[in-house]
Symmetry: C2
Subunit: 414 residues, 2 copies
């Protein structure tokens, strides 16, 4: 039996048990996991050092090294994250819309764990802890497949977490790590339908595409964000500038930052020069379509390839449109369907944008940066879904559960 088959089977068995533990038991386990991270932080930091040294030898970039490195503060952050998840209310067991049918059957839907959740992710070791905590809280077993760069760190973290879970009476295979980080094993994981109920990839566009293309297990696609802000012909200039600057520059490397600015032609002559100056003051490279260049000639010309691109950088491309419908159809065609915003003072335009833009989160007069589990009030998130089935937008604990019908009868036959 391969490592994957074995861990899949163990995970499935653990999930049967986890589906029936009380909220209190899960909460205790999460608190114990947080305490164990702190009490065993030395071992984790030692393991992390091995990963970092290996990465330095390989000439890894500074940004990547920073994502990989752990320190006391980051381990405290991980422990705090687990405690926050422990304190959230348990979604499992909730019964929705139970009602009596004419024949006397009482039919309702009950929220239950999904079962075994697979997570495929890249370098950041804190994902190991965050994902384990959320999956467990929702009553799921989790099988983690991190990148080879963080191998020793992930191994140390999972060892600490699974021992702590076991000490709280949960199955020791509730949290498991795939130790073989080869591409072949990742592909095998994507086809492990017998044991894995859902696979969530967390990482760059390349990883997500590989999972969508190869998986036979159901996948929840997360993350790429080519987000747009549309400044309407009727707009408040200060609000528009604030929102654009915040959405572009407050954290350009995350998926909910804005990449594209669309401006109504009647607003462009006034607003474009102002916003270009403000963006440049924040070191943003502004690119423009032909019409934008006629207003601010020294913009970098935007090419066709710009419109679908997620920069994750201090770059923003501007397009000028004739009307709101051109903006909406440009967005619907080029967006990654993550988050889009309109800035307008016109009631009908606000409603039209909300109704017609086909993305996970559609805003009126607010920054796209709010698309986030904590900002939406979920307490934590496992990722942001950009697909339409099951979960769309930030995914919290509820999105890590499913529903089953429960039916109370007294002898009904059909």
């Amino acid at each position: 039996m391969s490592e994957l088959q074995l861990k899949g089977k163990q995970g499935k068995e653990a999930s049967y048990f986890l589906g029936n533990v009380t909220s209190e038991q899960k909460q205790q386990a999460l608190y114990k996991m947080a305490a164990a991270l702190l009490s065993q932080q030395e071992a984790i930091l030692k393991a992390n050092k091995l990963d970092v040294e290996k990465a330095v030898q390989k000439g890894t970039s500074k940004a990547m090294l920073d994502r990989l490195s752990l320190n006391e503060e980051r381990i405290h952050g991980m422990a705090n994250g687990l405690r926050q998840v422990a304190a959230l209310s348990d979604p499992v067991g909730e019964v929705l819309s139970m009602a009596k049918r004419p024949n006397g059957l009482q039919i309702g839907q009950q929220r239950v764990p999904i079962g075994v959740i697979g997570i495929i992710y890249e370098a950041r070791p804190n994902v190991t802890c965050d994902a384990a905590g959320l999956c467990l809280k929702a009553g799921n077993a989790v099988i983690l497949r991190g990148g080879s760069e963080a191998f020793y760190s992930n191994q140390a973290i999972v060892s600490v977490l699974s021992q702590a879970a076991a000490s709280a009476g949960l199955p020791e295979h509730s949290v498991q790590l795939i130790e073989d980080t080869s591409r072949e094993t990742a592909l095998e994981l994507m086809k492990l339908n017998e044991y894995i109920d859902v696979l969530i990839p967390r990482g760059g566009a390349g990883l997500i595409e590989a999972v969508v293309k190869n998986a036979t297990v159901p996948v929840i696609e997360t993350g790429t964000g080519n987000c747009h802000i549309y400044v309407d012909e009727e707009y408040d200039g200060d609000m528009a500038a604030n929102i654009v600057i915040n959405a572009k520059t407050s954290r350009p490397a995350v998926c909910n930052s804005a990449e594209k600015l669309i401006i109504h032609e009647r607003a462009a002559h006034e607003f474009l020069p102002i916003i270009v100056q403000a963006l440049r003051e924040k070191d943003v490279e502004v690119r423009g379509d032909e019409r934008a260049l006629t207003i601010v000639p020294d913009l970098v010309p935007a090419g066709d390839e710009d419109w679908k691109k997620e920069y994750l950088d201090f770059i923003m491309a501007v397009k000028i449109v004739d009307d709101i419908d051109e903006a909406i159809s440009h967005i619907n065609v080029h967006s990654s369907h993550h988050s889009e915003a309109i800035v307008t003072t016109n009631y009908a335009h606000a409603q039209r944008f909300l109704q017609r833009v086909n993305s996970a989160a559609v805003y009126v007069n607010a920054s796209t940066r709010f698309t986030d589990g904590e900002e939406f009030g979920f307490g934590a998130e496992i990722g942001i879904s950009t697909q339409k089935l099951h979960a769309r937008g930030p995914m919290g604990l509820k999105e890590l559960t499913t529903l089953k019908y429960i039916i109370y009868g007294d002898g009904q036959i059909r």
Copy 2:
């Protein structure tokens, strides 16, 4: 551009339009479609005759010929189905749980169409009409790929439906049929991620397996039903017999019929001989495990391969267990996770079964035959999902929609 690429593109464009038509428009279109089926039934019956003649020449079985054949009554049935769907309330537009966040943002979820739904199905031409009606009512464009056996019938039905939809002001490509019924085209459809938002296979286990294995488009798995009835140690004998007979014999060829009977050993000595006789009176072949054979020696011995099998026939296999937990774990391992029922008078056992059995519909003291969109009060169904993501159990109009977050702000930045 291939037929599929073209139809995919046209479907996508139609879906943008359909997402914004009023309920009234959709309702009018469905009534016109129903009327057109009746006024053009001659053309449909003529086309169906071609399919039936071809099938007869190929030596198709009587049962298959019956599924393929249309007549006036069946066309009336299809038209009535469309009228019923027309009369259902429109799920699109509903806003769920809108609430104000501490920063003043109002965040809610709005029900919207999925977009373009692909349906792959086998011989029955009435699926063409049912699926088109439901998808359209929920604001989706639909691309149908029926089997080659029903080619002329499907072509005639789709031609009538799409003309009627167009005459009601909906896009003519709202309902499209893939005319190339080759396997290659089916595979291409399963990978048409650019245009198809979700694929729903309707048919036998082989078709569903092929779709799950090959599709890169998100799939909703429907249908196989290896359903169980567990008769507990404390039980009402008449109720148990009624439920078993109903669940097995009222319509054995459908997925919610029961295939397995599990009996507590303390009930078996009394109940097994009674139920075997009753089942045999209905021409059911009863198979049994070793322990069942010690009680009723002339049962057909059940082999290992029986326990996962969906007979869809007048066959039922019986297993005797030591206690309710053995019944539950047998079900969780061998079931197709469709529908299961316990017959018991014991409160704690009823609750334990409901909580621990991991299937789409779990019953206490009722027949599994109720797992059905109409019986659940949805008015109609597009299939019964046996997967855990997005939809589980009977899928009605609501399951043909998705949610998006809509957010009202007044200048919030983060």
